[in-house]
Symmetry: C2
Subunit: 346 residues, 2 copies
């Protein structure tokens, strides 16, 4: 097989087609590790940044100007559509919700999301970013998974164990189920609107699904995710599911109709591919800590990820989690260049 | 096979021998979910409690008086021997270290642990507790794994991602290796002293090993753990390794010479047993959140854990993590009674 000349490498890899090199982008590539991002944040708070199409487009483009990334992801936050549904929140830096959603009345009072009315700035930012991106760098739109959004909504603040929402899901199964349904409905229209505005791939972040054991994951986290992807499958864009810390639930994840499964650094890509099968690409999964190793050790860690992913098509290189603010941008440059160099198909 | 009449069920299960019922105890069973524990803590701080043999024995015995637990674990903290090595720390409630250990000079300045001199109150508490326990309830002694202790020592405070120690391990491999060695040496003498004082099983808590991907786990966390267990194998007590969030590293863990592997709730006990082999018992792994479900749902969750563990000997029932302070003690009573009733061999 030859590389597709028509598709950018990232989109080709999402479709398990051969590429001229393994594409790479990194989660939170627009963020605090970049001095140019911190400079923008000196002037504007996080919420204001997510609501300004011009500034959101600017910070989305910053890492693309600096590094040879193969994909871009719109700068925003998974809680942005939740604010659009009428929930007041602040970032400190994680989302803080003064009135956590814990009653059926509160769940029913959530406003059904109308993206063009409630979060128009996201679609506008996508249009501006797309106009500023080179043709070979596709733009990814994204949303949070229902269980992840639920965890923040019920906890009211970030938490190490999220014991409050986890206990709530067990103690209040009816309120929990209704809230998950409402969140799934909202994320379908939200992701569709992003694709309509120009997002060329859609990614769902299951940031907290790893709090659940395999049986609970299958029972309560998976069904709304399946419903979301079913609600997107008529769109002609690749669908990506980032299954953070869900290594014990890969058999369930293999039943989802998605193009790409993103994996954290605690899972072997090779072992995951055996379970997920040949019809899915994988994305990941260098430990963010490895960007702190010396240049030679970093290369050997990249080699391990590439070897684990295997030689076939359908691997998108990424970190296994968002990049840490303390990371040296020079290490990112070395990473991107080395992945391209090492995987170049002559 | 018949149940061993001589051995308490917990010790028999550690040795993969048949038992009259599946033994159960729970991590942090002496703790804040018990009103009688909170009453003790109204009068005495956490550090003082760990240093008072009488009070430590008292709170260790509290859950044994209330519930039909099959094992007891001495009340203490994994950082207690670290204080004994000369590191000043406070609990708030996690360990806070004003001067994190990050230089070779600080590593070399750590005092080699002499348990009888540096932490005599732990051995005294073990003796007092043993004297107060019924004969069929064995007492477990414990320590933290080198990687887990390292994480706290370098971070200086509890953290969600422990990015500081994880980056440190990559950036400063020599200081890291020396610190891990020093911690392993100390934990060997510490655990041996606990056995000498009367602990009938020894448990090593790999609380933060799950921060590492499978290759790093094998490279940096496993060797000092292996050294610790090698340093204990002449003792006639079962050795337990709690591998928290290490589901992706079970192939490495299977190489350890331990009797029991403790597993968190994110791993299937059945899948783990296939990898660990028949020579090891497993301990776990009900999600602590399931104690917040209604009584019937709780029973069905217990049934899932028992079915996953399989019918053979060598399963010790436990939670997959420490019990949460908000848990209703009545749910614990229902759990213990149901496990005993459901697994009774006539």
């Amino acid at each position: 097989m030859n590389a597709s000349p028509a598709l950018p490498p990232f989109l080709a890899a999402c479709r398990r087609q051969p590429t001229a090199h393994t594409p790479i982008w990194i989660m939170r590539q627009a963020g605090r590790y970049l001095p140019e991002y911190r400079k923008v944040r000196e002037k504007v708070g996080f919420t204001a940044l997510t609501r300004s199409p011009e500034l959101a487009a600017e910070v989305t483009l910053q890492p693309i100007r600096r590094f040879a990334f193969d994909a871009s992801i719109i700068f925003s936050d998974i809680m942005v559509p939740i604010e659009g549904m009428g929930v007041a929140l602040e970032y400190a830096p994680g989302p803080i919700i003064a009135e956590p959603v814990r009653t059926m009345k509160q769940v029913e009072a959530l406003r059904p999301l109308v993206p063009e009315r409630d979060v128009p700035f996201v679609m506008e930012a996508i249009k501006l970013t797309r106009a500023g991106l080179p043709a070979h760098v596709p733009l990814i739109g994204f949303a949070g998974s229902p269980f992840t959004l639920f965890s923040y909504l019920v906890a009211g603040k970030p938490s190490k164990e999220f014991s409050v929402p986890r206990a709530f899901a067990q103690a209040e199964p009816e309120i929990f189920a209704r809230l998950m349904d409402r969140l799934a409905d909202a994320m379908i229209v939200y992701l569709r609107a992003q694709a309509g505005a120009g997002a060329q791939a859609l990614m769902l972040f299951e940031s907290w699904g790893g709090l659940l054991g395999p049986n609970d994951y299958r029972r309560i986290a998976l069904p709304p995710v399946k419903r979301i992807f079913d609600g997107l499958k008529d769109l002609d864009v690749p669908l990506i599911y980032f299954a953070n810390q869900c290594g014990g639930s890969l058999e369930s994840i293999a039943t989802l109709d998605v193009d790409v499964v993103g994996l954290d650094w605690r899972v072997s890509l090779g072992a995951a591919r055996k379970i997920l099968g040949p019809a899915r690409a994988v994305q990941g999964n260098l430990d963010p800590a490895h960007l702190f190793a010396g240049p030679d050790v970093l290369k050997s860690r990249v080699d391990e990820v590439l070897a684990d992913a295997g030689p076939g098509p359908g691997h998108i290189f990424n970190l296994g989690h968002g990049i840490w603010p303390e990371t040296d941008p020079d290490a990112v440059a070395r990473l991107v260049d080395y992945v391209h160099e090492k995987t170049a198909r002559k």
